[in-house]
Symmetry: C2
């Protein structure tokens, strides 16, 4: 995984120069309790990672080319403000999107993971959205659309989880772990999105 | 449903005195596109409503008594700051929780629904959490825990959706519609939670 990582432009997972997450490891532990996280989820998420790793490109293409591209208010985030395509930006952010699938399943949820969660959120926000790739595009991806797109990802991932002939029960357990992880990540990203409102944070 | 509604204390769905949602109907339409909402979802959510309506009490008890009560940082929100139980508060908010299941499945997602979504969010926030029932409890329910608890609700609802002998495919479609609706609602609630930061809202 590390070898892959080095080849992805703008992917600096684990870099000591990354801003620390505003969320502590203790808060993460409590969040895992809220989401109902278990050792089974950890195990089945690893299995999901084995199943999904090689399919990551196809999955991201499915989401982007078959779904997002048909929804103008989502598709605009990979284009210029005038609506022109940005192929290099799409390719670079797409490669990181693929890596995110692998990271979701295969990374330890430790401080580095927490920091990179914050980084991913920032890269959807005005703080960093276009900075990483030096492009001119929409200023930010609204939090509402990130959260609302989750059911689409959770539904479409089912077919890919089933692609290697695992039992229906194993697929269901992989899927449950996947859904829990995505929601846990959403929970973390809302913290980043609410960050500037530091005086009265109800996160 | 209206008859039931009138008997629930603090339940003022559709009241003209409710604060208008900060989200417009047009924004809701776009969010439905993001979530992949279809006429099938509408149909199967109605069916889910028929299946779940009479089970609402059992479902809420399942969530609260079997799960939330075992997680101290969640259970505290129905208690005094000193950790004493508040049975009346639990009963009143529990009845509204049950009604929320029915509303999720059976209400039209119109301006009244949107306004009440905002109201529900406010009742989890400092603005209104203890006000509706005149109690002394935690000041607010953190957004992170509301979002992170969704997978638990989505997972446990499966058994209740299956309780009336529908086909596996119908149950799956009801479940998908349920998951989409909950995520749509989360998306709306983040707007309320981010509301005070009006100068630079990346919602």
């Amino acid at each position: 995984m590390n070898t892959t990582s080095r080849q992805i432009e703008g992917y600096d997972y684990g870099s000591p120069s990354l801003e620390a997450s505003p969320v502590t490891l203790h808060e993460l532990e409590l969040l895992k309790q809220t989401v109902g996280w278990s050792s089974d989820d950890e195990k089945y998420l690893r299995l999901a990672g084995e199943v999904l790793a090689e399919q990551a490109r196809v999955i991201v293409d499915h989401w982007r080319l078959q779904i997002i591209s048909n929804i103008p208010h989502l598709a605009r985030h990979s284009k210029t403000p005038e609506g022109e395509p940005l192929p290099d930006y799409a390719a670079r952010s797409g490669a990181r999107f693929e890596q995110w699938i692998r990271d979701t399943c295969l990374r330890a949820y430790d401080q580095d993971w927490l920091n990179y969660q914050h980084q991913i959120a920032l890269r959807h926000m005005e703080q960093k959205k276009n900075l990483t790739d030096g492009v001119r595009s929409t200023a930010f991806v609204p939090l509402r659309d990130i959260i609302a797109f989750i059911p689409v990802m959770n539904e479409t991932i089912k077919g890919y989880l089933a692609a290697k002939g695992h039992s229906a029960m194993d697929i269901e357990k992989m899927h449950l772990a996947w859904c829990k992880s995505l929601q846990l990540q959403m929970s973390l990203w809302t913290r980043s999105y609410m960050e500037p409102k530091s005086t009265h944070l109800q996160w």
